[in-house]
Amino acid sequence: MNPSGSMSLSGAIEYTHVGELRGPLAIVEGVSGVGWDEYVRITLASGERRHGVVLDADRDRAVVQVLEGTAGMDPEGVRAAFTGSPLRVPVGTDWLGRVCNGRGEPLDGGPPVLGSHTAEVGGAPLNPVRREPPSEPVLTGVGAVDALTTLVRGQKLPVFSVAGLPHLELAAQIAAQATTAGEAFSVVFAGMGLTHADASFVRDALEARSVAGELVLLLNTADDPVIERILTPRIALTVAEHLAFTEARHVLVVMTDMTTYAEALREVSAARGEIPARRAYPGYLYSDLASLYERCGRLRDRPGSVTVLPVLTMPAGDITHPVPDLTGYITEGQIVLSAETHARGVYPPLDALSSLSRLMRKGAGPGRTRDDHLDVAAQLLAALARVRQVRDLADLVGQAALSPTDRRYLDFEEAFLWDFVDQRSDEPRALDASLERGWRALLTLPRSQLSMLPARLLDAHGAKGLDEPGHPGHPDDLDHLDGLDGLDGEASR
């Protein structure tokens, strides 16, 4: 029936009639029974192996997008073997402890990853009726994140950053430290378009976790094929779903950088000649991002959970850019990093007032973390909102004209940033310690300002009135502030 077809070793029919090569597309002719979105293995005359996906199955023609690009391809001698289904990857615990490229091929010198089962990388939507609403925390060991924007098992919570901020450090730190109260826990880290320096930083930072067999690392570097970037998060999520819902683990999937991913999607869309929508991103960007982020969750009657932490850089710091905007509509809150806080030398440079975890009420507080957790977090945020007003006022009337209470708020901000938020990037901080630091910062304020905290707790922590002596936590008592005066200039003194 088909003169150009022959059986390959794997049993798939190989076709050799490539009628056209254009951009990343190869048009294979004379095919039969080739399905849309089918995965293709391509062998060049030189023996080099490439991979592709069917974009258009039109009668006996198949338009194949070559993942590695068509550079160096001569239509003569090209053999295309259609695998009979969309891309499937092996799944199982064999992935744990492995380091692979964005297509799931080993980078660690080990054998290819095998599994007892394979699964389609596109996944299938979770039945909303079978979802269990998330209700328990993942503790990241990053104090400010755990205390103010608690990550909940089954949640999707993105990190919004701008170029130049340490979001990769934060992502790696969370990936290295996160735990779920002693229950089986794994991390799948998907890096997309990382520079080689960043990739090796991630490998170093996560080495201990990898050795412990709790990590799957997929690294697509900036010089890897662009289209591969579209597969990387899908492979990561497919592996994670299996580890969670079949192997009963709580899995955290860190995906960075989603802006790079969206750019890859745009590049592919342009190559396909699709009509562009906002900022030339394809019209289906929302559905595409949703098909990744929505793979998080928990299921009724099944153990395990998938929690997703995408990291994205906002181009030119613009939160209304399509990638952060659409992400914000899909995800349950956001952790925002601030260039201003970074400039003051605080790590992690969290913009606490813009950050929000929508599921925090369900995953923190009595029975989940600590009884006073939600109250402390609410009081810290309320005080920060007041700090912002006081700063505006100070700019207008000058520090000296501020009321004593307002001046206390400036002290509070110092304590908040340097005692509560600031943390080493290799320092895991227990939630208890973080909340105690939160208390210490709050106690720089007079008791009358702490209206969100119950009197019982205020007494226990020794909250004092404005005029009482021995006010704890005053910046002068924080010895580590010495020598930092130059950094914040006239801000508070």
Binding site: D37, P128, A277, G283, Y286
Partner: protein
């Protein structure tokens, strides 16, 4: 995409004319197949071995273009497709109440953990329904008339009606008893009538006539019932960026408004949020019937990662379900969250078919598609002569909070009410964050007449006063920021105070509070009157020479907390707090 028009009724073309067709081309959700006769535009097609549902969108020469509603990975040219001979239709019946369905109204409760394309999702169990006839054999009946009732499906009896376009003598009628939904319960003039029915989703169900509505839909949310009320059969758009509390407000209305049936369409929503809605509804009790709130609710869940084309269909499916219950003489509310995701599905599809893009890549037909959707809302006299209504409330999610983007801009023109959610109010924790300056209700004049007829003649005056107080306080707020409150004359300082009292004592409402989540209509009036009376007294005090600062120092807490301290219908409690407050003000001396 366009609405299918044509004669009423669901008469099918003969099945013999639909031969199997062969697939020629597959590219994403677009599938081309051979034209083999007997295929009409918008007909349903089962594609490939898995029988994926699809809809005919173009017929050109001997090629038929079909859009698949599900993921087409692996579908290959040469495989077969089966035209079904009728447009996309849904099963309507008593099982809808309390059920959860996908965008094509296939039940989700019986489906597995993951929704695989093309899998048949049959109802969990095919149960029987208790039918009681209301007509006798040989009785003459006409379209829309009630043949019998099914009880036990929910808080309202589900009626079995004579189908549109059918009239004549009842030739057979089932005796009272249990029947499966597909059972024929009556034969009218040769037409078999089953307990459930089918209807094409893109075709509005016929009515005798549209009527004007003078009756308000009580939502139990003060800012809405007081300032921006909605009539039964009207349309509302709720624009708001992410984080403005849009979903919470819509859920509040789904829980508390006084409609008979709620159709909640989660269109491109978050999966976890949908799980939350489902869990909460099944736990809450209906204050009017004592049953579960879920029992009067039909939930259509099409989360953002479920197939895009089913999302496009889901809003039509939702309205069709609403019309089905409306035709029984019920008041139905459709809540669509969010219509922006529906519009995006339209855009995605248009870009795949290569349609020329208009604004921001949306198809040129966007405005008419939005208009046609909202036009299915109406208060009507049904074919059977009863009064019923469908109210449509659609959320809009403007990208980047940009209110000039096409979906928001077009929707504003076609709706009668706009509840615009404000980021600044949400940031200040003022919930519901409904902006009084940016919202409108064109139903106010008819509802004022309705309230007058219903024994509340003061309603319109009260609304005007609250509007005036808020506008004056907003105007002064700008001034206060510049020169400080102390620099204002005493009377104006009282206006600023009145604005604060109205905002905190009336407009704010806590969705989390057991007593405040729902507020009866009389309590809304009582609270407003109480706050206005206190504001008047404050003004009298400064007029009589009391310094403004002394009035401002009064603890208004008891008045402001009245909304949470009293039950949803406790007018006496509100009056007591008002009197105590007024008495307290009497003690303030010059």
């Amino acid at each position: 995409m366009g609405a299918v028009t044509g004669a009423s009724g669901t008469r099918r073309r003969p099945a013999a004319r639909q031969p199997v067709s062969r697939i020629l081309r597959v590219t994403g959700p677009l599938v081309e197949m051979e034209y083999s006769g007997g295929i009409a535009m918008y007909d349903l097609v089962s594609i490939g071995p898995a029988g994926l549902p699809g809809e005919v969108v173009a017929i050109s020469g001997d090629v038929v273009t079909v859009q698949a509603y599900e993921y087409t990975g692996g579908l290959a040219p040469g495989q077969t497709a089966l035209p079904r001979g009728h447009p996309l239709s849904v099963r309507l019946g008593p099982e809808l109440l309390g059920g959860i369905f996908d965008g094509l109204l296939r039940p989700l409760s019986g489906a597995g953990d993951w929704l695989l394309p093309g899998t048949q999702r049959a109802a969990a169990e095919e149960r029987t329904w208790s039918f009681s006839p209301l007509v006798a054999q040989d009785e003459q009946v006409t379209e829309g008339q009630t043949l019998g009732e099914i009880r036990g499906a929910g808080p309202v009896p589900v009626k079995v009606l004579v189908p549109p376009g059918c009239r004549g003598a009842v030739e057979e009628i089932a005796v009272a008893g249990d029947h499966p939904r597909e059972a024929v319960v009556a034969v009218v003039d040769g037409t078999e009538v089953t307990a459930g029915t089918r209807w094409p989703v893109r075709r509005p169900r016929p009515v005798r006539e549209r009527v004007d509505s003078h009756e308000a839909l009580n939502t139990g949310q003060r800012v809405i019932d007081l300032l921006f009320p909605v009539a039964r059969g009207s349309t509302v758009a709720v624009p708001g960026g992410f984080g403005t509390g849009k979903t919470v407000l819509l859920q509040q209305i789904a829980k508390w408004c006084d409609a008979d049936v709620i159709v909640y369409v989660g269109c491109g929503e978050r999966g976890n949020e949908m799980a939350d809605v489902i869990t909460e509804l099944s736990e809450l009790r209906d204050p009017r019937t004592g049953g579960r709130l879920a029992d009067r609710t039909v939930t259509i869940a099409n989360t953002s990662n479920m197939p895009m084309m089913a999302r496009e269909a889901s809003v039509h499916t939702g309205v069709t379900v609403a019309e089905y219950f409306r035709d029984m003489g019920l008041d139905v509310v459709v809540i669509a969250d969010s219509t922006s995701r529906w519009a995006e599905a339209l855009r995605e599809f248009a870009s795949r078919t290569g349609a020329l893009p208009a604004e921001e890549g949306y198809p040129a037909g966007l405005a008419s598609a939005i208009a046609a959707f909202y036009e299915r809302a109406a208060a009507v006299t049904t074919l059977g002569g009863e009064r019923g209504s469908v109210t449509v409330i659609g959320a809009v999610s403007p990208p980047g909070g940009d209110m000039t983007e096409p979906v928001t801009a077009h929707t504003e023109r076609f709706v009668r009410c706009l509840w615009s959610l404000d980021r600044d109010l949400a940031y200040a924790r003022h919930y519901p964050a409904l902006s009084w300056a940016g919202s409108f209700s064109r139903d106010v004049p008819v509802l004022a007449a309705g309230h007058r007829a219903a024994g509340d003649p003061a309603w319109a005056g009260r609304r005007d006063r609250v509007g005036a107080v808020l506008a004056e306080a907003d105007r002064l707020a700008d001034l206060v920021e510049l020169i400080g409150i102390a620099a204002l004359p005493a009377r104006e300082r009282m206006s600023v105070l009145a604005g604060r009292l109205v905002r905190e004592g009336v407009l704010q409402q806590s969705a989390l509070s057991e007593r405040d989540a729902y507020c009866g209509r009389e309590k809304t009036a009582a609270l407003t009157d109480a706050v206005l009376a206190v504001a008047d007294r404050c003004r009298e005090l400064v007029d009589s020479g009391v310094p403004a600062a002394s009035v401002e120092e009064v603890d208004f807490g008891p008045l402001l907390r009245a909304r949470e301290d009293t039950g949803p219908h406790d007018i006496a409690g509100v009056a007591a707090r008002r009197d105590a407050m007024l008495a307290g003000l009497g003690a303030v001396q010059p």
